[in-house]
């Protein structure tokens, strides 16, 4: 099983998928900072005073980590960042579902109309699995990074 999971072709596929999803999600959020700030606020989990700091920085962390992942730069570290973000997103969705909130997810664009729900939760869990595998096995295939000794 480990042999299959550490297959370099599988890992680069995961890298591309996770990388693209995060670049795409980040760019959409960057294009509408006010909308994303409202989306975070709707979760009612963060104090108002720090909502905007998250709205300003988080999409850029997504884009930069996604780009690094795509190009194979510090894959372990960047996939770890993405895993942590996904865990936070999953917790936010679970808490919102538990509280019965009917809010926009804010996962991609803020006007895509995706609501917080089970499907969203599953998407995040699948991405988290991919991201975790990248942290565990690393992926240096077709990478522009010179650090190839840690696979």
């Amino acid at each position: 099983m480990n042999n299959f999971l550490s297959n370099k072709y599988l890992l680069i596929l995961l890298r591309v998928i996770v990388g693209f999803v995060f670049i795409y999600a980040g760019i959409l959020k960057i294009s509408d900072p006010a909308g994303f700030s409202d989306a975070i606020n709707n979760y009612d989990l963060l104090p108002l005073s720090i909502v905007n700091i998250f709205a300003i920085t988080l999409p850029w962390i997504e884009v930069v980590a996604g780009l690094f992942l795509l190009f194979g730069i510090s894959v372990k570290e960047n996939s770890l960042i993405i895993s942590v973000l996904l865990i936070v997103f999953i917790l936010a969705i679970v808490i919102s579902l538990g509280r019965g909130l009917n809010i926009e997810c804010g996962c991609f664009s803020t006007s895509s109309g995706t609501r917080v729900g089970i499907i969203k939760l599953l998407e995040n869990i699948i991405l988290l699995t991919f991201s975790f595998l990248l942290t565990k096995f690393n992926s240096v295939f077709l990478s522009i990074s010179s650090d190839k000794n840690s696979s």
């Binding site: 960057i30 509408d32 900072p33 006010a34 700030s37 409202d38 606020n41 709707n42 108002l48 005073s49 909502v51 905007n52 700091i53 709205a55 300003i56 920085t57 988080l58 999409p59 850029w60 962390i61 884009v63 930069v64 980590a65 690094f68 510090s74 372990k76 570290e77 960047n78 770890l80 960042i81 509280r99 019965g100 909130l101 009917n102 809010i103 926009e104 109309g113 609501r115 942290t135 565990k136 840690s150």
Partner: protein
């Protein structure tokens, strides 16, 4: 699973600084501290103003944004035949809605927006959705105000409060 924390922190710091810098120069940038979209409620003393407005007389107050109303005020507007707009999706609207309300799902706005062609901008409108845990009424209310509707109310208590109060509804059994 050896992790290089310097590299990890670098990504976070570089992207955060990038975000702060771009936000600073972006005309659509937001302030560091969020200002809350505080719903301003109409106070009861202005309810008479609402009646004047419905009767077509000149308003003595110009709305600078969509204003929130309580259940009681919503009922008073309902009795004055003010138009209610349901911001929830079509299925929820079909299951049950405030009597005579029209359906304009905020999340499928483009598909349903033609309904606004029949509603003059001077018409007072009330946007509502499910209730207190739902933001669609605020989003739709703000959008209607941006579109030029001069008198937009947000009935934040929404469908839940209306139903609980036993006020007139239409549902799928009818």
């Amino acid at each position: 699973m050896k992790i290089n924390f310097t590299s990890l922190l670098s990504t976070i710091i570089i992207s955060s600084l990038l975000g702060l810098l771009i936000n600073y120069i972006n005309p659509k940038g937001i302030p560091f501290i969020k200002e809350y979209r505080q719903l301003k409620f109409i106070d009861d003393s202005t309810t008479s103003y609402i009646s004047n407005e419905v009767n077509g007389s000149t308003p003595d107050e110009v709305f600078d944004e969509a204003k929130a109303i309580t259940l009681k005020q919503a009922y008073s507007l309902y009795n004055q035949n003010v138009l209610f707009i349901d911001a929830r999706d079509y299925v929820e609207y079909e299951i049950g809605h405030i009597k005579n309300a029209v359906c304009l799902p905020y999340l499928d706005y483009d598909e349903y927006k033609t309904i606004l062609d029949t509603i003059p901008k001077s018409t007072p409108v009330v946007a509502y959705c499910d209730g207190k845990d739902c933001d669609l009424s605020i989003l739709l209310g703000d959008k209607l105000f941006e579109l030029g509707y001069k008198e937009v109310y947000i009935f934040f208590g929404g469908w839940m409060d209306w139903q609980m109060a036993g006020y007139p509804i239409e549902d799928e059994d009818e």
